[in-house]
């Protein structure tokens, strides 16, 4: 399956999103000596899932700051360094570790520019990774973008594709605001051709990755990949739908979504967090208020059910939205008959073969 990545450099090498992020960080750090990196194991052999690999070798080990295991303190220190002119990039292995630092993030990072009447800036990147799969369980797999999205002063981005991630991470580093970057472990594996050298993608809002008039799907992060897969099968079955990769959760730019829904009359949101009080609610509710008369049906939201994430592969069956569920929901919204829907579902399942539920599906790894 080909990824909807219109690379800026045809024939560019195919790499995965994790590597692309690493390359983007390195390029940004090379261009600006004030960029410094914080991480627990910032230069260790695992290099934050490879996303910081050899950066210290390239830009100098003094710019790589090993964090003691003290997230609240160290993120506060990064904020202070940002106030003094540095551009710290903090990388956390899991979203959950940021929970210890929410006072620093939600108050000092988010509000210092505002409270200081514009006197201080906090140019900070806070990378955190969603650890789905392999039984990670309740405290190592949460997504939590809804928390950060609620807070004015933060930017929140969730890249899904390799080249886009490379350009967005550079833009995040260059941004004068605190930018929370939520990266899904399974998106890290997505491969596509990625332009070499410096790439910049503005943090400006959603991007259309599939076109169609049947319905508008707004997806985030890894769910965009599942949505694309569903969309491709729906298109094959004669029902093309539009898929927008949300990319930037805050500030939220709904214009392209409204424009699409005005055309399709139907909205489906799919995200990686808990569905209740999740980001889909804001999108659905705001799009409803802007397109009420153009909607054929109420928007539908997919997300995680209302319980913590269990570890066992027995228990997570059905926990995560996937291409089949997205396809079925979309098809039902478009009024397809059940036989047709089942055929599409089976088609998707067949492509998936019997890959276990708790490891990433290799479908989004080229070749192209």
């Amino acid at each position: 399956m080909s990824m909807p990545e219109t690379t800026s450099a045809p024939g560019a090498p195919v790499i995965n999103m994790g590597t692309a992020i690493r390359d983007g960080l390195l390029e940004a750090a090379r261009r600006d000596p004030s960029v410094i990196f914080f991480g627990e194991g910032v230069e260790d052999p695992a290099a934050l899932f490879g996303t910081l690999k050899d950066i210290g070798k390239q830009i100098g080990h003094d710019r790589m700051i090993e964090m003691p295991i003290a997230e609240n303190g160290l993120i506060g220190i990064a904020i202070g360094a940002a106030m003094a002119g540095k551009r710290p990039v903090v990388s956390l292995q899991r979203v959950e570790f940021a929970l210890l630092a929410l006072e620093q993030i939600l108050n000092n990072a988010a509000k210092t520019h505002y409270v200081s009447n514009g006197r201080h800036n906090v140019p900070l990147v806070l990378r955190m990774i969603v650890g789905r799969g392999w039984g990670q369980g309740p405290e190592h797999s949460q997504s939590m973008e809804a928390i950060f999205a609620h807070v004015p002063g933060l930017k929140v981005i969730m890249p899904a594709f390799a080249e886009d991630a490379k350009g967005m991470i550079a833009a995040a580093v260059e941004d004068d605001n605190p930018v929370v970057v939520i990266e899904h472990r399974w998106s890290h594996y997505t491969t596509s051709p990625v332009a070499e050298g410096y790439v910049h993608r503005p943090l400006d809002g959603p991007r259309t990755v599939r076109e169609g008039d049947g319905l508008t799907i707004v997806a985030t992060s890894y769910m965009t990949l599942e949505a694309v897969r569903a969309a491709d099968k729906l298109a094959e079955a004669g029902h093309p739908v539009e898929v927008l990769d949300l990319r930037v959760i805050r500030p939220l730019n709904l214009d392209p979504i409204v424009e699409s829904v005005a055309r399709t009359g139907r909205l489906l949101t799919v995200d990686t967090g808990f569905r209740m009080f999740g980001i889909g609610a804001e999108i659905a509710s705001e799009v409803t208020s802007r397109c009420f008369d153009l909607l054929d049906a109420a928007p539908v939201r997919l997300g995680l059910p209302d319980h913590p994430t269990p570890s066992s592969r027995g228990l997570v069956k059905g926990f995560y939205p996937d291409a089949t569920r997205i396809a079925r929901t979309a098809a039902e919204m478009m009024g397809l008959d059940d036989a047709k829907i089942s055929a599409i579902e089976e088609d998707i399942l067949a492509a998936r073969k019997d890959i276990p539920l708790d490891v990433p599906d290799p479908f989004f790894k080229g070749p192209f």
């Binding site: 627990e40 194991g41 260790d44 052999p45 695992a46 090993e66 003691p68 295991i69 003290a70 609240n72 303190g73 959950e96 570790f97 210890l100 392999w134 039984g135 990670q136 369980g137 309740p138 405290e139 190592h140 059910p305 209302d306 319980h307 913590p308 269990p310 570890s311 066992s312 592969r313 027995g314 228990l315 997570v316 069956k317 059905g318 926990f319 276990p356 708790d358």
Partner: protein, 325 residues
């Protein structure tokens, strides 16, 4: 666990068997992990058995224990059910918590094994809280909070220790210092000063002993537990070493964060082998009987694995239960 107040030979054999049992369980996990049926992260304690066993042997069965991501040894030493542990690691319905948590969340409340929490230092205040409750109830229980060297960096340890001393809580903080947090050496995370300066700053009495010496650990633990029981929180620093990779079944001395040489020094301090020798030399353990112990325990371990493998996966609908009490 100190179930009887037997004579010295009793506790020595008990502790030896307990260490051997933990070792065999974890070696078997390591061996079979590649089968990809234990589908959750595992953090093995191989090489660190003396601290779990020495401390837990100083506890009563209704004393409490809290652990972290590296919980297998603590769970077993505290008397947690082995079959339920293996079923949990296999993600099965008969797991100690029905497959909900996997290796990083082991618990067996009936055995006083209250909880394991994989967020670094996050179980420390919980342990301090059960100690507070037990002090209210004046029920004589002690809580042990196992923590890694990295936990001294997390603010919540300090917050908890300050309160424990302020209120005179029956809690023992046991710091297993294995020199690393994942791949990062202690020297890259904390300044060079004795770790025990930290409890001292909170006014907490402390001992620092060789964590690979079962006798030394147990003796320090008996002091720590009884001092805590009388309303004085205590702190133990136990120096030890994890043999295998931080998370997973393999050795990783070749990847560059530590040296084979350092590992070999610690390998030679194997707490199990050392204790076996001591017991053989002192005549507590008959020369040929260790192999027999090994055989018996391995059989039990194999049984637990078989039980876990045979246990069914939970049904997805079971995931809906217990969101609210």
């Amino acid at each position: 666990m100190q179930t009887t107040t037997g004579d010295d030979a009793d506790y020595r054999l008990r502790c030896l068997k307990q260490m051997l049992r933990i070792r065999l369980v974890e070696e078997t996990i390591a061996e079979r992990y590649a089968e990809q049926e234990m589908r959750c992260p595992v953090h093995l304690s191989i090489g660190q058995e003396a601290s779990a066993v020495g401390v837990c042997d100083a506890l009563m069965s209704d004393d409490r224990l809290f652990s972290s991501h590296r919980s297998h040894a603590h769970y077993l030493a505290k008397g947690g059910n082995l079959k339920a542990m293996m079923a949990e690691i296999y993600g099965k319905r008969d797991g100690c918590i029905g497959g909900r948590g996997g290796s990083m969340h082991l618990m067996d409340p009936d055995a006083g094994m209250m909880a394991s929490i994989p967020i670094v230092a996050s179980s420390i205040p919980l342990a301090t809280g059960t100690a507070l409750s037990d002090k209210f109830d004046n029920n004589g229980k002690v809580t042990v909070s196992f923590l890694g060297d990295a936990c001294l960096e997390e603010g919540v340890f300090h917050e908890s220790a300050n309160f424990a001393k302020l209120r005179g809580l029956p809690i023992v903080y046991v710091c297993e210092n294995n020199l690393y947090s994942v791949y990062t050496n202690l020297a890259d995370r904390q300044p060079d000063r004795p770790l025990t300066d930290i409890p001292a700053a909170h006014g907490i009495e402390h001992r620092h002993v060789d964590g690979n010496d079962l006798e030394a650990v147990r003796k320090a633990a008996l002091w720590a537990v009884e001092t805590a029981r009388s309303g004085n929180p205590t702190f133990l620093q136990l120096d030890t070493y994890r043999w295998r990779e931080h998370c997973g079944p393999n050795y990783d001395n070749h990847i560059g964060y530590r040296t084979e040489e350092e590992f070999q020094i610690w390998r030679a301090r194997d707490p199990l082998e050392r204790y076996r020798k001591m017991l053989e030399e002192s005549g507590t353990l008959a020369p040929a009987s260790f192999a027999g112990l090994e055989k018996d325990i391995q059989a039990e371990v194999n049984g637990a694995f078989a039980f876990a493998i045979d246990s069914p996966l939970p049904e997805p609908t079971e995931a809906l239960a217990h969101v609210y009490a």
